[in-house]
């Protein structure tokens, strides 16, 4: 599952429209979903981030979630262009000084840049910040990296201003259009990023795990034997992706020695 994280409604709307997301009213905050893509609207600043992300994460059955923060940011006038889209490779939290480094693991055509997360809108920071500024990214990294591994985080920012506007002026900008202009590259990134999730697919399927569970029950395997069986089963599955696991011999009376013989036979079958 891929979960988009946005701050402003104007950032969310083009993404909601593009991915045909529908509001999920079971949440007390804005969540939109369509199949394997979701969007959580976090609001401006850090205050809602922890609650909304963890509430969503705890409510979905899916463990394999990628979080992608998409939003606008103020940019240094000499190093950034208004309307340009960037990947973040470094996020600094201005208040705590904490530094975060998102892993950039897929090929992309965007520029990479650093960002500082600030507490208040920066309207006269043209020379103070080298790259971008926003009000959420560091907290998003902080919260998400505590629940998922680092390869499942990505940060995409589009420059809306050169840190010379007040909040009222920023939200009056055509933010949706800024996002819309980059939907093609954002979608391409989603496809490539999603491929990384496949690398994390467990070796054993649900069916495989059920077979292991049944075998453990039927043969009353010890903890060590169960672990050994699981390892053998993984080796078997790597070697033979589609083959079914061997059938377990039915024995009317199972004593310690027949159990051992049966267990050894199964391990041998799985290992050859």
């Amino acid at each position: 599952m891929q979960c988009i994280l946005t701050a402003l409604k104007a950032e969310s709307q083009p993404l909601i429209d593009h991915f045909k997301l529908i509001r999920d009213s079971t949440y007390p905050f804005p969540v939109f979903r369509n199949g394997s893509i979701s969007l959580i609207a976090l609001g401006v600043g850090k205050k809602n981030i922890h609650h909304r992300i963890t509430t969503f994460y705890n409510s979905v059955q899916e463990n394999n979630i990628q979080f992608i923060n998409i939003g606008i940011a103020g940019g240094n006038p000499t190093s950034t262009k208004i309307g340009e889209c960037y990947f973040l490779h470094e996020i600094k939290d201005e208040m705590s000084g904490a530094l975060y480094y998102p892993d950039i693991l897929v090929k992309h055509s965007l520029e990479e840049i650093s960002l500082v997360t600030v507490e208040n809108v920066v309207s006269n920071g043209e020379s103070r910040y080298r790259g971008l500024v926003d009000m959420e990214a560091s907290e998003i990294f902080n919260v998400c990296s505590s629940i998922v591994p680092l390869q499942r985080l990505a940060f995409i920012k589009i420059v809306s201003d050169h840190m010379d506007l007040k909040f009222e002026e920023i939200i009056a900008l055509p933010i949706s259009t800024l996002i819309l202009n980059h939907l093609a590259s954002i979608e391409l990134f989603f496809i490539r990023f999603n491929r990384l999730l496949k690398e994390e697919t467990p070796i054993l399927s649900e069916t495989d795990l059920e077979w292991i569970h049944n075998t453990i029950q039927e043969l009353a395997l010890t903890e060590t034997q169960s672990l050994q069986l699981t390892h053998c089963a993984k080796g078997f599955r790597i070697r033979l992706e589609r083959r079914e696991f061997p059938e377990i011999e039915k024995i009317s009376t199972l004593n310690k020695s027949t159990q051992k013989i049966l267990f050894r036979k199964i391990c041998e079958k799985l290992s050859t």
Binding site: E90, K107, P149, L150, L196, H231, K234, G235, F236
Partner: protein, 321 residues
Amino acid sequence: MDYPLAQIALSKFPKAKFVEIEHYKDIFNRPKQHFQIQKSSMKLILAKKTAPFLYPASEMIQEYETPNVFYTTPILNCLYNCDYCFLQGMYPSGNLVIFVNENDFFKSIQEKLKNLENPLKPLVIPISYNTDLMAMENIIPITSNWIKFVRELDNLKIEIRTKSALFSSIENISPPKNVILSWTLSPLEICEKYERTAPPVHRRINSMKSAIEKGWLVRLCIDPVLLIDRWEDKYNRFITDLFREIDGKKLVDITLGVFRMNKDYFNRIRKRESRSDIYYDNYIIENGTVTPPIELRTHAMETLKKHILTIHPKMRILIWE
């Protein structure tokens, strides 16, 4: 960044995006990284190493008949990604770290030479233990710099172990007497299945042949020997074919060893659900090392040793047992 090695590395990647960091561990040692996903998009970290520069040799390496064996780490991690490699269990990150302050490494060796446990025996340093230095030579000339450094030093031997086909990158250097180039070779079936990112074995053999012809001291490493189905046929045939290609009499020695790995590294790799069947075979744990049972490994080593000796009866063979 002012170190010459850093400048060379930077010049090789003119389009790279640079991120300045405080300490390499801020990136390299982070928890919750995915080693294998990072391996498919490795990042280069240039860093300055602090002491120690030398580490006592691992028990995983063959006995070199001197107590003065240490290894060093000019680079952490490897360009290649062999299935059986311990680095994926040792390091939390798949990224590459290059230590650019090579003179500090050299100074520590000069100090060590003054304080050897047994000064009558040489100091032996495998310098490519946690990486493949020669594979990186076109990016950063660490191998050639080390060769230049050790050339004039008495009582020091370095071993540069590699799977690279890049001997050409150092072929114009005259071979010193205290540098051993060691090529790790495996039968084709093993290379294709477990060493997919390393150069094809015939290219490694060609590199090795060139090195022998140019007068370098060359060691052959058949290590790890993987006890796959019909391993005996495959390894014996490989050895026979290999000695048709290279002049075995010109080798310094051969090292042999079965698959073995520190238990903690092995368990970490297994926990990360490695896609290699190596990690789901049956092994025993002996003194903290995961390895095939003793009777299997003794049989394997004896078989291969015997086969090598039938071809080259005087061959010096070092075995990890």
